[in-house]
């Protein structure tokens, strides 16, 4: 065992844990912290389901070691909604535009798209498709995901 003390912020909350160096960040989030909103699909960086924000940038949490997150700030899908009653505008748009069916890939899409929309408030369809190129969805055919992003972008711009 190669144990390290880990102190990091997730969704604004401070966490301190002991981890084995070979524990993946995705498994740490799910199994050690119970933040099971981050989904694990392929575990080798292809599907994008495990995407989280690492210092504000979307990354694959299955391609990082938990120990590498020491001292960093993470955001996961659990941190998006402002309350149990109030979804994030992007989540709301996914719901309304039917941007998901089974929902397994959704957390990865959301965490990829939140910073994308912050940088691109009025994205073209091509830009949206480019942005989600690293996320696989087997249900929707992506059409409704693109529409959900447009809907969210319109609302976020309107404020």
């Amino acid at each position: 065992m190669d144990i390290f003390s880990l102190s990091l912020s997730i969704n604004g909350n401070r966490y301190e844990r002991q981890v084995d160096s070979r524990l993946l960040l995705s498994d740490f989030l799910r199994h050690d912290l119970g933040l099971t909103g981050t989904h694990v699909g392929c575990e080798h960086g292809v599907c994008g389901a495990c995407t989280v924000l690492f210092d504000g940038q979307p990354v694959r949490s299955c391609l990082m070691l938990a120990v590498q997150a020491n001292g960093h700030a993470l955001s996961t899908v659990e941190g998006l909604a402002s309350s149990r009653q109030q979804l994030h505008p992007l989540q709301q748009a996914f719901w309304e535009a039917h941007g998901l069916q089974c929902g397994f890939c959704t957390p990865g899409f959301l965490m990829t798209l939140v910073p994308f929309l912050a940088d691109h408030p009025d994205p073209s369809e091509m830009a949206i498709r480019e942005a989600i190129s690293g996320n696989l969805c087997r249900c929707t055919g992506y059409q409704n995901i693109v529409e959900a992003v447009r809907l969210a972008a319109d609302r976020l711009r309107a404020g």
């Binding site: 084995d20 993946l24 694959r60 299955c62 190129s133």
Partner: protein
């Protein structure tokens, strides 16, 4: 009782069960400085593996294809993350510079446009947020874009190890599939891209099944025009066309002295695709299809490079 998987154990048995882990055990070391990293690499030698962005190494470890005894993480060494323009117009890039940072760096776009052009093709945005220039080069995947561009640009690499510091030309750096001339204990520190000579056009093109997937074929092309408008020099380097970045020197040499145009490009494309590259074929593309892609991409890339050479030559 059936053996439960990790997540079931968590659901039904709360915290008492230790979960299975994907990578095999290793000793993890995260030095703060290059000096410390070099000391650790000298100490552990062949036992140690360097961790850069981890976008290829971590999956390989998850699959247990790679099982290093010691992992030396370079991510805390901020001194290896930089893009610097030097007086002669060349660009020095620290090995740990993130691919995403290169993609949006205006200096990169200005002085090494070929590198800039290939960046969006390097996997996906999430991967580029972590992936580094040096990591991709040291990994030496024959299907990767950055090694091909490094060769096409005539870049050179600075490495440092127990024997001291040395410079390696890009076309001598790669030594076959997932292999480079880096010695155990050596760290790739910097890559220098020389400026494109005036009148040089460039193009990077690839064909993949889906955006961001490994390309079935790809080419980096440069083409320099003489003052009379003939082709003075050309370079063609291919990805997924052999066991590393594959050059097509005969096709490039045949272009020399020619009037650039569809005929010359077609001939060069045929030579490169049929005689010089050595694609291996895979489940997504047969060897014949890869050669066909190489032919079409070469033709198009040379045409694009020619257009740009005419603009930059003015």
């Amino acid at each position: 009782m059936p053996k439960t998987r990790g997540w079931e154990a968590v659901l039904y048995n709360s915290q008492s069960v230790r979960l299975e882990m994907k990578p095999p055990p290793f000793k993890y070391l995260a030095p703060d400085s290059l000096e410390q990293a070099l000391e650790l690499m000298a100490q552990y030698g062949e036992e140690a593996k360097l961790l850069a962005g981890g976008q290829s190494l971590i999956p390989a470890m998850n699959f247990r294809v790679v099982q290093p005894a010691v992992l030396v993480d370079l991510n805390r060494i901020k001194a290896l993350e930089y893009v610097e323009n030097s007086e002669d117009g060349s660009l020095a890039i620290g090995a740990m510079t993130r691919q995403r940072a290169l993609e949006f760096n205006p200096i990169v776009a200005e002085s090494t446009p070929l590198l800039h052009e290939c960046m969006p093709h390097v996997a996906h945005p999430q991967i580029r947020n972590r992936g580094t220039l040096g990591g991709s080069l040291a990994h030496a995947d024959p299907a990767a874009e950055l090694p091909v561009v490094a060769v096409a640009c005539g870049s050179r690499m600075k490495a440092k190890g127990p024997q001291g510091e040395r410079w390696i030309e890009a076309d001598r750096f790669f030594k076959g599939m997932f292999a480079t001339v880096l010695q155990p204990g050596e760290i790739l520190m910097e890559v220098v891209f020389p400026p494109l000579p005036p009148g040089t056009g460039w193009s990077f093109m690839e064909a993949s099944r889906r955006r961001g997937d490994y390309a079935m074929m790809g080419v980096a092309a440069t083409l320099r025009l003489s003052s009379s408008g003939t082709c003075e020099q050309a370079r063609l380097v291919y990805l997924n066309a052999g066991d590393g970045p594959v050059e097509a020197p005969q096709a490039a040499a045949a272009l020399k002295g020619q009037t650039p145009g569809p005929e010359a490009f077609e001939a060069a494309a045929a030579t490169a695709a049929e005689q010089e590259i050595d694609p291996l074929g895979n489940v997504h593309a047969s060897v014949a299809y890869q050669r066909q892609l190489a032919k079409v991409l070469t033709r198009r890339a040379l045409a694009r490079a020619f257009e740009r050479a005419q603009i930059t030559g003015n």
